[in-house]
């Protein structure tokens, strides 16, 4: 996620202007949507002439102009939230509790609150424009027989619409989290912005109508049961009595009013349409291809050149656009390919190619390592751990391998530990022996020290134990013990008992009684925890919340794979083009490593797809603004990888036999050359 204070030239110079342009266009589109809304909401079948003249009159009215200004403000706020919240790497919660944490995150709460308020504002405008019985909060009371009835009563229709606005605003914000609406995906083909916008508008219209229908259904049900609470509250706080002679709206007769439902639906669709258009325009603007120069003649522009920009890690959007640009240039523009293959003027080094290929290969081997680590973890456990409870960290730091691996396979993200420990040979065995006892049901929340089941004291203890055990036992065994330490919470007590039994007979000056006590305490707590866990595992709700979502781990592994797809396309097209265009043979030197990298990635991907849930296709969501492209990225990556290898083999053909790669890779390559993969 980007914020304004980030000091990156790309965000300052490009992204911000694009966001501004998209907001400006959504403001300019507002009068059109408002006109459409006014015509629909005032629709009357039997008086067409009256209807049209009334609508034109209304469009000129001062109240409508004021509403439009208010709506502009709303669009500005929505646009600001789009810019603040967008991400190119979706964060995928691996269990329902992680999703719940995402929804209850303070940032998200602010988001929801603002959307509620803004939704109310839009609905206020809508009710003003709809006129009639929705016009104002107060309405003159129908005079009963008693003469002392108050002049002004509460207009429940107005309240009904305002609350609907708040509800739709909240559901928009909530669905935004669930469906990853802030995720921005890149189109498979390049189109001009105008044409793309024109092409997606009918879809957005349909989407907002359908979503509004769902929202109306939910809202009406909610209002039927709980509508009297806000009504009573508003009527009390504003001192507006409720007109008792009218039907109240939280009854069947009140709600089964066709024209009320129609107006509610149209207003909801209008609200969602203005917001969706803002989101759509933002997506279209921000994913527009940006052309980075391959090399520049001026030293001060060097940081804006493709090789430099590719290695940038802090700004994911820039990296993605740079990789997209690389893929495009490698396919479509021979002059720019020439620049990639060119040699530096004094010295004659292929700096451009070296930097680009190095960065792409780093990305690919990164993914290979991630896949291998995941596979090992799954193979040793029988089931995978969610890569991280809230993978927000990964989205910000754009998936640095080590952190992903640590949080994916290790159990203690909080204890600082060098990631070298991962490679201790005994680790896999230890893990399997440790995890084998715990039932699969309990596995999801066993190791999490930040889970709600671990008290702060426990967390403190766990953090303390690491250095202590290191002191008790020799430094040689320490990695294993360190690894075992946190594991104790998830297994039965034997290993911990062993550890302390081993440690206690050796009187070392540095083991004072409090530590012993803490170990007993820990054991006691451990037993308690086992009991609690056994108790909890039987509760359906807990299991429901903590069970891992199927294929979520697979989706999370490939969350940023669009970058890898472009890297593969870019590399393979460049290598294929080098066959005829590379005058100095700069590509030849890296060809073995490129082939090796691709083939080992292919192997890792093949192995990954043999895991359960990895090759199951996600269900298609029919009509929602949330982009579900990330769910199928792994399939796209697999296809792109094969195509890339085939592209190289079909271009080079028999010449590839002269490339020195390992025998295993040679065998695999042979398969590709015979078209047998």
């Amino acid at each position: 996620m980007l914020s304004f204070n980030q000091d990156c030239w790309f965000v300052r110079k490009v992204v911000r202007w694009r966001a501004l342009a998209s907001i400006a266009w959504s403001v300019l589109l507002l009068p059109a949507t408002t006109t459409l809304f006014v015509f629909l909401v005032r629709f009357s079948l039997f008086h067409p002439v009256e209807w049209i003249s009334e609508c034109f009159g209304l469009l000129m009215a001062a109240s409508t102009i004021f509403s439009l200004i208010l709506l502009c403000g709303v669009v500005l706020v929505i646009g600001f939230f789009n810019l603040e919240g967008y991400t190119v790497v979706p964060s995928i919660p691996c269990s329902r509790v992680a999703l719940l944490a995402k929804v209850l995150h303070p940032r998200q709460c602010v988001h929801s609150l603002v959307h509620c308020t803004v939704g109310m504002m839009v609905m206020w405008c809508a009710s003003v424009m709809a006129g009639g019985r929705y016009q104002a909060l107060g309405s003159p009371c129908t005079r009963g027989e008693s003469a002392d009835a108050p002049e002004v009563c509460l207009n429940e229709y107005h309240v009904f619409l305002l609350l609907a606005g708040a509800f739709i605003g909240y559901s928009h914000s909530f669905l935004g989290v669930v469906q990853n609406m802030n995720y921005v995906s890149f189109q498979i083909i390049q189109q001009y912005k105008y044409l793309r916008c024109k092409g997606s508008l009918p879809w957005v219209l349909k989407c907002s109508a359908v979503q509004s229908l769902y929202a109306v259904r939910n809202y009406v049900a909610l209002y039927f049961f709980f509508g009297h609470i806000p009504r009573a509250w508003i009527s009390n706080s504003l001192n507006l009595p409720i007109d008792s002679s009218l039907h109240s709206l939280d009854s069947l007769t009140g709600l089964l009013d066709f024209s009320l439902l129609y107006h509610l639906w149209i207003s909801g669709a209008f609200l969602l349409l203005t917001w969706y258009i803002t989101v759509l325009l933002f997506r279209i603007y921000v994913t527009e291809a940006h052309r980075f120069p391959v090399q520049s003649t001026f030293a001060e522009d060097a940081e804006q050149c493709l090789p430099k920009v590719l290695s940038e890690k802090r700004t994911p959007i820039m990296k993605f656009l740079a990789l997209q640009d690389l893929a495009l240039l490698s396919q479509h523009s021979p002059p720019r390919r020439q620049e990639v293959f060119s040699l530096s003027q004094p010295g004659g080094h292929p700096h451009n190619w070296n930097a680009i290929s190095k960065e792409c290969l780093a990305l690919l081997s990164d993914l290979t390592q991630r896949l291998v680590a995941h596979h090992d973890a799954v193979a040793s456990n029988g089931r995978a751990r969610p890569p991280s409870a809230t993978s927000d960290t990964r989205t910000t730091s754009n998936s640095s391998v080590s952190s992903a691996v640590v949080s994916g396979t290790e159990d203690l993200p909080q204890t600082p530990r060098p990631s070298v420990l991962l490679k201790t040979p005994g680790s896999v065995f230890l893990k399997s022996s440790g995890r084998g006892i715990s039932s699969p049901l309990t596995a999801p929340f066993t190791p999490d020290l930040d889970s709600p089941f671990s008290t702060p004291s426990l967390r403190h203890l766990a953090a303390q134990q690491v250095p202590q055990q290191g002191q008790w036992l020799g430094s040689v065994q320490s990695p294993h013990i360190i690894r075992r330490g946190p594991k104790l919470w998830s297994t039965s007590t034997d290993s911990q008992a062993n550890g302390s039994a081993l440690a206690s007979p050796v009187p070392t000056p540095s083991s004072p009684p409090p530590e012993q006590k803490s170990s007993f305490m820990a054991q006691w707590l451990q037993n308690r925890k086992e009991q609690v866990k056994g108790f909890m595992a039987k509760r359906v709700l807990v299991v429901y919340l903590f069970n891992k979502l199927p294929e979520a781990s697979s989706q999370a592994l490939f969350a940023d794979s669009q970058a890898h797809i472009w890297a593969l396309e870019g590399l393979s097209h460049l290598v294929a083009a080098s066959f005829s265009e590379d005058k100095y043979g700069v590509v030849q030197t890296t060809l073995p490593s490129i082939l090796g990298c691709m083939l080992s990635l292919q192997e890792a991907v093949d192995r990954h797809f043999k895991l359960p849930h990895a090759s199951s296709k996600p269900v298609k969501t029919s009509c929602s603004m949330g982009d579900s492209t990330y769910k199928t990225l792994r399939f796209a990556l697999r296809a792109a990888l094969k195509t890339s290898i085939y592209r190289i083999t079909s271009t080079f053909g028999e010449h590839l036999n002269a490339v020195c790669i390992s025998a295993e890779h040679q065998k695999r390559l042979q398969q590709f050359m015979e078209y047998r993969e």
């Binding site: 189109q187 498979i188 083909i189 390049q190 189109q191 001009y192 044409l195 092409g199 396919q331 479509h332 396309e569 097209h573 296709k617 298609k620 492209t629 199928t632 990225l633 399939f635 796209a636 697999r638 296809a639 792109a640 094969k642 195509t643 085939y646 592209r647 079909s650 015979e674 078209y675 047998r676 993969e677």
Partner: protein
């Protein structure tokens, strides 16, 4: 301009062209005197009788039973309607009026685009590249672009795959695989085959090393989009990343990312649909023919298009030169081949030039043979040496295949104006249905 009169006279007296050796065509009277090649192709003889169309009403006992797919709600509504029949009069009248209005509008639409009144199968037959599609035993044929492998779609809606390396010939069948009108292998891939079907688009993944003769329908990806059926044409991008599909009913053509199963519709009003798509071999342009006298050439970088209105009729068939700079096409109702030359420098051509005249020519020999007619299908071989043209039949010769030497065999010739030289008129046994470039 080349015309049929310049061709050497075709063979006569029951002779047929068998093969080519040493740049000469060898003719014979029986097909058994083949010279052995490096791959002896399997004998492909599909008797018409063994291939029953998939769902003939008389061949199944299904018609004797009532289809019972209605939901409970629909059934109860039906029962209410049957029993009570208490529809208000005005509702019945007004619904009748609305229906009549809709029918009138659709007939108006149909008069603008006559092809919309055809049924799905008739439409596929009309726009297929195969001659006499509805009655042909072989519905479609596709060579693999890289290896000795091909797929044949048969009348009974099955697809057979033959491979030079293995003896097994897998048969592909799928519930949705009806009325196959086109197939294409994915470039830069060994296994994926896109099939244009009646209701959807299927992408089969046939593992080349598998020994199974009946791959399960789990190997097929179903790609469908509402309003996009029947699909009559598919085209993979030469880089293998995108798939374009077209339907004569849908004004939008779909660009698919097959692995991710999402699509981008590219809509242009006018023309009333897209019948035939063909990607230039270098991947920079895409031809989209419509059922009206109009076709479009898309450039595939930013996906904008040029409109090419034809005067006479719709574009029946088209093919690209190997470098993607020339487009040859034929128009329904005219017996000529047109050429368009594209170049990046000059902003594109202004009008199409006639490069070959295929009007009927009578060769006098032992018995007079008349050759010529409208073009059914065009194919250019990837080296650019030859252009094969399948002609629609005259009453004497049901169809004939001719080829031109197209003088594009060498790269340096690609820049020069296109020059078609007369090749040969090939004589076949029976009527020839389709032509594909290897």
């Amino acid at each position: 301009m080349c015309s049929l009169a310049l061709f050497p006279p075709p063979l006569s007296g029951g002779q047929i062209t068998l093969y080519e050796a040493n740049n000469e065509l060898v003719a014979g009277s029986s097909p058994d005197c083949y010279e052995k090649q490096h791959w002896d192709p399997p004998s492909l003889n599909f008797p018409r009788e063994t291939l029953k169309p998939h769902s003939r009403p008389e061949s199944s006992s299904k018609a004797a039973f009532l289809d019972h797919k209605d939901t409970l709600w629909m059934r109860s509504a039906g029962a209410w309607y049957m029993l009570a029949y208490i529809l208000p009069k005005w509702l019945a009248v007004s619904s009748g009026c609305v229906l009549a209005l809709i029918r009138w509008m659709s007939s108006f639409h149909g008069s603008l685009f006559p092809h919309l009144t055809l049924s799905g199968e008739e439409m596929t037959a009309e726009f297929s590249q195969v001659l006499d599609w509805s009655d042909s035993a072989i519905r479609s044929f596709a060579w693999h672009p890289h290896t000795d492998k091909f797929a044949v779609a048969l009348l009974d809606d099955s697809i057979k795959i033959y491979n030079s390396r293995s003896a097994t010939a897998p048969t592909l069948k799928h519930r949705l695989q009806r009325n196959v009108s086109a197939m294409q292998w994915k470039p830069l891939c060994a296994s994926a085959l896109a099939v244009a079907c009646h209701t959807c688009l299927l992408v089969w993944h046939v593992d080349p090393s598998s020994l199974s003769t009946r791959p399960s329908s789990g190997c097929a990806q179903v790609l469908s989009h509402p309003g996009h059926s029947p699909v009559t044409s598919v085209a993979w991008s030469p880089s293998g990343s995108l798939l374009v599909s077209a339907s004569p009913v849908d004004t939008a053509m779909m660009v698919w990312d097959v692995a991710a199963e999402n699509c981008v519709p590219l809509q242009r009003v006018g023309g009333g649909g897209v019948t035939n798509v063909s990607w230039s071999p270098d991947g920079s342009r895409l031809l989209a023919a419509t059922p009206s006298a109009l076709f479009r050439v898309w450039e595939t970088r930013m996906w904008t298009c040029e409109r090419w209105p034809c005067l006479k009729g719709r574009c029946q068939s088209a093919c690209w030169s190997p470098d993607g700079s020339r487009l040859l096409f034929s128009v329904q109702g005219e017996m000529v081949i047109y050429a368009l030359t594209f170049s990046d420098m000059t902003g594109g051509p202004k009008s199409a030039a006639v490069v070959a005249d295929l009007s009927e020519t009578t060769f006098s020999g032992i018995d007079d043979i008349t050759v010529g007619g409208e073009v059914q299908s065009l194919a250019w071989d990837p080296t650019g040496e030859r252009l094969a043209v399948l002609l629609k039949g005259t009453e004497f010769l049901k169809s004939s295949l001719i080829y031109f030497n197209s003088s594009l065999a060498f790269k340096w010739e690609w820049k020069r104006p296109l020059n078609l030289n007369p090749g040969h008129i090939l004589q076949m046994f029976s009527s020839l249905k389709s032509v594909t470039a290897i």
